[in-house]
C-alpha cells in the first residue's frame, strides 16, 4: 500500500517547483542581460545653443576695433549607466522571486558639438578679424555650458530612472516580482 502512494506524492513534489514560474536564469545570464540593456545610452538631450563673440577695442576713448559674431550650433548630450564599473546582481536567499541589483552611477557618455549645423546670424569685423581660434574657444565653452545645464536639468537622474524602469520591466516579465535597488 505504501509504494503506490509514494508515486503520486513524489511526482507532485517534483512537479510543483517546475510548474511554478520561478525565474530560472543564472546570475551570470542575468548579469549579461542587464549589461546588454545598459549598453544603451538611456537619455539624450539636444541643444540649439547660441554663441556670441564680441570684442571692442579703443584707444583714448576712440574705438579702434570691433568684432562681433552671432551663430547657433546643435549640441547633443547622452547619458546612461557607466559600464566601466561593475554591476552586482544577487538573488534573495529567502524569496526566489526577489532580486537585488546594484547599478553603477549614471554618467554623461557623450557631448557632441555638430559643427555642420552652425548657422551664422551676423558678423561685424571692423579693424579686426574673427579667427578660427575664436570660434573653437567659444564652441568649447558652449560645450561646457551645455554639459552643466544638462546636469542641472537632471539628465543623470533621468538616465538612472529610465535604466531602472527598463530592467524592472524585463525582470518582471522573466518572473521576478520584486527588484530591490542597492546592495542586499
Amino acid at each position: 500500500m505504501r509504494r503506490p502512494i509514494l508515486v503520486p506524492l513524489s511526482l507532485f513534489v517534483l512537479l510543483i517547483p517546475a510548474c511554478t514560474r520561478f525565474p530560472s536564469l543564472s546570475p551570470e545570464e542575468l548579469s549579461t542581460r542587464i549589461r546588454t540593456i545598459l549598453e544603451l545610452p538611456s537619455v539624450e538631450y539636444r541643444y540649439r545653443e547660441i554663441v556670441y563673440v564680441g570684442e571692442q577695442k579703443s584707444f583714448l576713448f576712440i574705438p579702434t576695433a570691433n568684432k562681433e559674431v552671432l551663430f547657433s550650433v546643435e549640441i547633443r548630450v547622452q547619458a546612461g549607466i557607466d559600464l566601466q564599473q561593475p554591476v552586482t546582481i544577487k538573488r534573495d536567499g529567502r524569496n526566489p522571486r526577489k532580486i537585488h541589483i546594484n547599478l553603477p552611477p549614471p554618467a554623461v557618455l557623450l557631448v557632441d558639438v555638430d559643427e555642420s549645423t552652425i548657422q551664422q546670424y551676423f558678423v561685424v569685423e571692423q579693424g579686426s578679424r574673427i579667427l578660427r581660434m575664436d570660434y573653437s574657444k567659444e564652441l568649447e565653452s558652449a560645450k561646457q555650458r551645455v554639459l552643466l545645464d544638462a546636469q542641472k536639468r537632471g539628465i543623470l537622474l533621468e538616465a538612472e530612472r529610465q535604466a531602472r524602469t527598463l530592467i524592472e520591466k524585463i525582470l518582471q516579465t522573466a518572473g521576478f516580482e520584486e527588484v530591490v535597488w542597492g546592495a542586499p
Binding site: 503520486p8 512537479l15 539624450e44 539636444r46 540649439r48 556670441y52 561685424v124 527598463l166 520591466k169 522573466a174
Partner: protein, 259 residues
C-alpha cells in the same frame, strides 16, 4: 485490491499531472507558441504601464528677431504684396513672410535695433520634450521567435519657455521691460508650436524608441524583431509574409492585443 489501488493511484497521478500542465504550459515544447504569445502580451502590458516614453529633450535657444527674419526675404517686397494684393495677410503671404512681418513689427514695437551698425537681439530658451505614447503600442507575435511591433509617431509632450536669469544670461544685455519680455516669449512660443519640429529631432526620438523596444524583446527571447512607426501605408513595405500577416491581423484586431 492491489490492482484497484494501483489504478486509482495512476488515475489520480495523471489527473494531477494534467492539472499541473494546464497551470503551467511552459513544461512542454508543444505549447511553445502559446508561451511566446503570452510573453509578448506580458511585455506589452508592462510597457503600457509606462504610458509614455520621453525620448528626447530639446533645449532650443531662439534668437529674436533674427530667427524669424529670413535673409532671402525683403521687407519692402512684403509690404508691396500687402498693398497691391486683395485678401487677408494669411492668404497673401507665405508662412516665412508672415514670420518676417510679425517679428519685425514686434521688434520695432519694443524698440530693438536690429538693422544698421547696431544689432540688438534677445535669446529665448525653450524646452521641448519629445516622446511616444506607449498606450498605443501594437504588438503582433509571429511564428516561433518573430514579432512585429508598431509604435505611434513621436510628438511634443511638453513645450515651455524659460524665464531668463540675468546672472547667467551670457549675451549682451538689452533693456527690456517685463511686459516686452512677455510679448517676445509669447511670440516665440506661438511660432514654435506652429512650426513642425526639426526632422532630425524626430529621427533621434524614433531611433531611441526602436532601440528601447528591440532591447526589451531581445531580452524576452525573440530573435526576429521588426520595429516600425505606426502608419497604415507602411504595411506594404514590410518583409515578405509579415506585411500580409499584418494586414490580416489589422483587419480583425486594431487594439494590438494578440488574436
Amino acid at each position: 485490491m492491489k490492482i484497484r489501488t494501483t489504478l486509482v493511484v495512476l488515475v489520480v497521478s495523471s489527473a494531477l499531472l494534467t492539472a499541473l500542465i494546464v497551470i503551467d504550459r511552459n513544461l512542454f515544447p508543444l505549447f511553445t507558441s502559446t508561451k511566446r504569445t503570452s510573453i509578448s502580451q506580458a511585455i506589452w502590458e508592462r510597457v503600457r504601464t509606462l504610458k509614455s516614453l520621453q525620448t528626447v529633450r530639446y533645449v532650443q535657444k531662439v534668437v529674436f528677431p533674427y530667427d524669424f527674419l529670413d535673409p532671402g526675404l525683403d521687407f519692402d517686397v512684403i509690404l508691396t504684396i500687402l498693398r497691391r494684393g486683395k485678401g487677408t495677410v494669411n492668404s497673401l503671404l507665405s508662412s516665412k513672410e508672415r514670420d518676417y512681418l510679425e517679428a519685425r513689427e514686434l521688434a520695432e514695437r519694443i524698440g530693438l535695433k536690429f538693422t544698421g551698425r547696431k544689432r540688438e537681439f534677445v535669446v529665448v530658451t525653450a524646452q521641448i520634450v519629445v516622446g511616444t505614447n506607449l498606450e498605443s503600442l501594437k504588438i503582433f507575435p509571429g511564428t516561433k521567435e518573430s514579432i512585429l511591433v508598431l509604435f505611434p509617431p513621436p510628438r511634443i509632450v511638453d513645450l515651455s519657455i524659460e524665464d531668463p536669469n540675468p546672472a547667467t544670461y551670457p549675451y549682451p544685455d538689452i533693456p527690456l521691460s517685463p511686459s516686452h519680455w512677455k510679448l517676445v516669449a509669447g511670440f516665440v512660443e506661438r511660432k514654435l508650436r506652429e512650426h513642425p519640429l526639426d526632422p532630425s529631432i524626430l529621427d533621434v526620438s524614433r531611433a531611441q524608441m526602436s532601440r528601447f523596444l528591440t532591447t526589451l524583446f531581445l531580452q524576452a527571447g525573440f530573435t526576429e524583431i521588426e520595429i516600425r512607426e505606426d502608419s497604415s501605408a507602411q504595411y506594404e513595405s514590410l518583409k515578405p509574409g509579415l506585411g500580409e500577416r499584418m494586414n490580416r491581423l489589422e483587419g480583425t484586431n486594431r487594439t494590438g492585443k494578440n488574436p
